[in-house]
């Protein structure tokens, strides 16, 4: 009895002191519940026959034990293309885009002129702040077959014009290149921060042992970056099936849809424009689930190799 009044008093004084904090949390938590959790109940329609007048709970189950729309998706040519394109573009981004900021960070780190280094950093961060619409606008003008800067220069050097944005194969290359252009500078920030955390005595010791620039990069800087590289690699592997919307949508055009339609664009076309809610929700759910699995798998893999992982 006595103990419980003590507890009650403690709780009361605790609440008296901290109730404001709970009040503060009301709005954010309400936001997460409303806009992140409540939408989840609509996932049910991936397994049900969509009906505009019923709630997702009431709708009738789809055929084939509710799996009708998943079967339909995997028999849909557009979806299979979208799946292939998502994997292909993300894989190319990983192969070419992942090492790029590491290399640039190593170069920036070797710069001895401090003010020039700052200026370079400011400039290479710039593309990160441009929207994909703007980048696409610049690319359209810069890479235009007849009057774009790049093709004018190619023509003047005696080469014929390249259809950077109008030929599927060239479009893929341009997509990856523009992705690197946009993000390479920004992604150096994390690596540069990790480099400053490397013990300078290691460099001195390496110098004493007669190591040159490249040996210091190879034996000191890169090992120092290893944990950062692993964590970021896990995150990218986890996102191998996630698809951006802005970038492929802004860069795409009618001539290249066979390579530019990714899953997010498929969902937009079939769901919001085509009103196939059940099918596009099924596709979205498939994507989300695979993403979560990949993320956990990549993390487990990293731990197995003795790295820290992201959790």
């Amino acid at each position: 009895m006595f103990a419980s009044t003590m507890n009650l008093n403690k709780t009361l004084s605790y609440l008296k002191r901290y109730w404001v904090l709970y009040v503060m949390l009301i709005l954010p938590i309400a936001f997460f519940i409303t806009f992140r959790y409540i939408p989840m109940h609509y996932i049910l329609i991936a397994f049900k026959k969509y009906s505009i007048v019923q709630s997702p709970w009431e709708m009738a189950w789809a055929d084939n034990n509710g799996m009708q729309y998943f079967i339909q998706a995997f028999n849909n040519r557009d979806f299979l293309y979208a799946l292939r394109n998502t994997l292909m573009l993300n894989l190319l981004d990983l192969i070419f885009g992942f090492p790029a900021p590491i290399i640039l960070a190593l170069i920036l780190n070797e710069l001895v002129f401090k003010r020039f280094k700052r200026f370079t950093q400011t400039v290479v961060y710039l593309p990160h702040f441009l929207s994909w619409i703007i980048i696409s606008g610049m690319a359209l003008q810069l890479l235009a077959p007849t009057n774009g800067l790049v093709n004018i220069l190619l023509n003047r050097m005696g080469y014929s014009s390249i259809p950077f944005l109008n030929d599927p194969a060239w479009w893929v290359a341009t997509y990856v290149a523009l992705g690197i252009w946009q993000s390479v500078g920004w992604n150096t920030i994390i690596y540069l921060a990790a480099i400053t955390g490397i013990n300078p005595e290691l460099y001195e010791a390496a110098s004493v042992d007669g190591a040159g620039r490249f040996r210091k990069i190879w034996h000191v800087t890169l090992p120092g970056l290893r944990p950062t590289i692993i964590v970021l690699l896990i995150l990218s592997l986890g996102h191998i099936l996630s698809s951006e919307f802005d970038r492929p949508y802004a860069l795409s055009n009618k001539l290249v849809t066979e390579v530019s339609n990714v899953i997010s664009i498929f969902v937009y076309n079939y769901g919001i424009r085509g009103l196939n809610f059940s099918l596009s929700t099924a596709v979205g759910l498939f994507q989300s689930v695979v993403c979560v699995i990949f993320l956990f798998a990549a993390n487990a893999l990293a731990k197995r190799f003795g790295e820290r992982g992201i959790w």
Binding site: L126, G212, Y268
Partner: protein, 288 residues
């Protein structure tokens, strides 16, 4: 330490590589600026590279004289300010209580973090917004994405770096959590708040997919979506007739000028915040 000759050459090779990088980053912006300032004829004759030919401001005066553009720019500016203020407010509300050892903190943190790994997807969001009567409502561009888990993590990590002793001494003086937030924590976190404001503002200024999916009312199109529609009209002659211009070349310079209008505000803001956002990004990466 005295440098050897090969080390010095190496230093200049590094400078050379950086200069190439700078050129690669700046050329597209310079090219578009040059196009926007050139005469339509020079553009058609492919004479414009990085420096304007036939200097004139026609494209800019046309854009500024067209209420469609000026309204879209104004609306996007208003939207950006509202979104930034509201998002920042929500982020503080979310991050600050979670640095205390609250009862139920684990639950709240779990609830928030889970949404980073799994989300319902586009269509469920669309159906929810429809249910809430937010489709085609200007609020749809503000509310559904006003809070980013990642930025909450950044802010919370920063607040954790402020020593507890400051808070404890304020508590001894009788200050409540709200007072401590306003008088101790917020003044100390201006750098990270500036960074988050920049991220939220740039996100809204550059965003268009939410408007594309959830907004059919052309009046509320943000500048990026308007720009997309202009840039992707099938060819310049068609745009020219649609927009009522007689010379097709002019529409090309106008495209360039519109891109400039959408770009320049960002060019003026981000370099000043560079020192801060580097700290912000690093903080999020280490503790996230």
């Amino acid at each position: 330490m005295v440098k050897t000759r090969s080390a010095k050459i190496g230093d200049w090779v590094v400078v050379f590589l950086c200069v190439i990088m700078i050129i690669v980053c700046l050329v597209p912006v310079l090219n578009i600026a040059a196009r926007s300032l050139s005469s339509a004829d020079a553009l058609i004759r492919n004479e414009v590279l990085l420096w304007p030919k036939g200097w004139n401001l026609d494209a800019y005066t046309t854009v500024l004289g067209d209420s469609k553009y000026t309204w879209s720019l104004t609306w996007t500016a208003i939207l950006t300010v509202i979104c930034t203020v509201w998002s920042l407010f929500m982020t503080i509300l979310c991050a600050y209580p979670l640095i205390y050892d609250l009862k139920g903190k684990k639950f709240f943190v779990g609830l928030i973090l889970f949404t980073m790994y799994f989300n319902a997807g586009t269509i469920p969001m669309y159906l929810l917004l429809k249910e809430l009567h937010l489709l085609n409502n200007p609020l749809v561009l503000i509310i559904p994405n006003c809070l980013s888990v990642f930025y909450v993590i950044i802010l919370r990590s920063f607040l954790y770096t402020i020593p507890d002793s400051l808070r404890e001494s304020a508590e001894i003086d009788g200050a409540g959590p709200l007072r401590i937030l306003v008088n101790v924590y917020l003044p100390l976190s201006t750098p990270v708040l500036a960074t988050l404001a920049l991220f939220y503002a740039v996100g809204r200024w550059n965003g268009f997919s939410d408007a594309l999916m959830f907004m059919n009312d052309r009046k509320y199109y943000p500048i990026q979506l308007l720009l997309y529609n202009i840039l992707n009209s099938i060819n310049s002659i068609e745009v020219a007739t649609q927009e009522g211009f007689t010379t097709p070349g002019l529409s090309e310079t106008i495209k360039a000028a519109t891109v400039m209008f959408a770009t320049v505000p960002i060019l003026f803001v981000y370099p000043w915040l560079q020192r801060y956002f580097i700290a912000g990004v690093t903080l999020g990466a280490v503790k996230g």
